[in-house]
């Protein structure tokens, strides 16, 4: 037995090395660069730079748009998952079809295709003008970016909610109905509270990619809307200021850590509930 344990320890070595070299050290580097200046001296300026109006506006914009996108995802996904769970014929394969198959079309292309739908001479506006209406300004707006976020991250919301709803014991729902609860009461007092962990997990999975994206905004924003992700990407790829880019990344890390804490706490309360 002792021998097996030792073998097991050796088997883990490559991964421990890997995790240290490619997960831990790179993060330490972001912290290091974020807290030093060009000459390697300690400074807090790169993190404090978030207060610069251009950066704080970009952060605010990212928070606002990703918040709205998360809410829209939730509002779209929840009824969908309820319908899917109710229609008990739905097999897992149907859900896979719905959610996983689109991932096999490159996500840049998928997002880019929205340009053809939204632009001035695009599908929607061509339709509007053909029936005699004024064309709308759709592309390169906040709305277009929210749409892009919802489109890309909706599956992250659907999956956990579906699992949570599917796990609810049907007898609990039937019991509520037998005890005289209306449909609405059953939904708000029984189903929704039971699915809450899935909802929160969905929210945390949508919010971070939406908050930190630079791709959606650059494909559907026409360069007119700067999100914090764009600022960071450009500090590295255009301005050649790794220190500032890292400093702003540290600000993003704060949000990511908050997000992790929220999801860990809900998982824990879920475990308590289970036990």
């Amino acid at each position: 037995m002792v021998k097996t344990k030792r073998i097991a320890g050796f088997l883990g070595l490559p991964y421990i090395f890997w995790a240290a070299a490619f997960i831990v050290i790179p993060l330490i580097m972001v912290v290091w660069y974020g807290l030093t200046d060009e000459n390697g001296g300690f400074t807090f300026a790169n993190v404090a730079a978030i207060a610069n109006p251009a950066h704080s506006k970009a952060l605010f914009m990212a928070l606002l748009l990703s918040f709205i996108a998360t809410i829209v995802c939730l509002l779209l996904a929840y009824p969908l998952c309820m319908f899917l769970v109710e229609a008990q014929k739905t097999s897992n394969s149907f859900l896979t079809m719905l959610l996983i198959v689109p991932m096999w079309m490159n996500f840049l292309l998928r997002t880019y295709a929205w340009q053809s739908i939204l632009e001035k001479t695009g599908i929607i506006n061509t339709f509007l003008t053909s029936i005699g209406l004024q064309p709308l300004r759709l592309i390169n707006t906040n709305g277009a970016i929210i749409l892009g976020m919802v489109y890309n991250f909706l599956p992250f919301m659907i999956l956990p909610i579906y699992n949570a709803l599917d796990d609810i014991d049907k007898n609990v729902i039937n019991a509520a109905r037998d005890l005289g609860a209306s449909s609405r009461q059953t939904l708000t007092k029984v189903i929704f509270p039971l699915s809450l962990p899935g909802v929160i997990s969905g929210i945390t999975m949508v919010f971070i990619p939406a908050l930190t994206t630079f791709v959606v905004s650059s494909l559907l924003g026409g360069g007119k809307i700067l999100l914090i992700g764009n600022v960071i990407e450009q500090e590295f790829m255009v301005a050649y200021d790794w220190n500032l880019g890292s400093g702003l990344s540290l600000v993003l890390l704060i949000f990511i850590v908050i997000n992790v804490i929220v999801s860990v706490l809900t998982e824990r309360s879920e475990e308590d509930y289970a036990s």
Partner: protein
Amino acid sequence: MKIRYKGIKRVYIGLIFIFMYAPIALLIIQSFNKSKSRGRWGGFTFEWYGSLFTDASIIEAFTNTILLALLSSVISVILGTMACICISKMKKKARNIMMGITNIPMLNADIVTGVSFMLLFLTLRIQFGFGTILLAHITFNIPYVILSVMPSYRDLNPHIYEAALDLGASPVYAFIKTVLPEIMPAILSGGLMAFTMSIDDFIITHFTAGAGVHTLSTKIYSEVKLGIKPEMYALSAMIFITVLILLILVNRVQGSARKEDA
């Protein structure tokens, strides 16, 4: 009332479907468009499906993408499975630390992961290229493998393995005969997940790619600005349709197998 509710349900699911698939349909239609410009329909053609195979840069990006996905998922499956065996034998605190670290790439924002890799390779003077992308892909793939294999490995009955050892099997032989078959489904699903993640990644590749090395994602990103080549639509449509058909076939086979079981 009931019928109307059912109708609403159908319409709603249908609308979400349209929302998810309309852009994809558009891209597939575009691949048959004779006109190179996105906005105009210039007639139906199969031309791009032919010229695709003579476009060296697209073919190269495609092979890079597939090679990366294959290598990174195989390596991460091996490293990840080995790690599971080790981590599950650790004391609770060490295990929690390891699992915490393992979770980082999944919970972290892609842009921060990408940037951290870029800084690592820059400071260590590692030349950017296929190798750096591969390192990055393996790193963000391993967690998917570990999180898939870990529960299945911990559910194993350890006595079977020990019994095999007692009966004189070598540790490796005992592992292959008793443990591996049990955790194989988890390994496969973790590997498939890793493969998909690697294919779909853009952001991390964007920060770790070097001169002249492109995956389909980075190629598309640079083409978006210049106008996407119709061959790119053709290739993407082909990949998409292939996967769709494969999935339907797998479903059919599983479906009929289930029926026979019943």
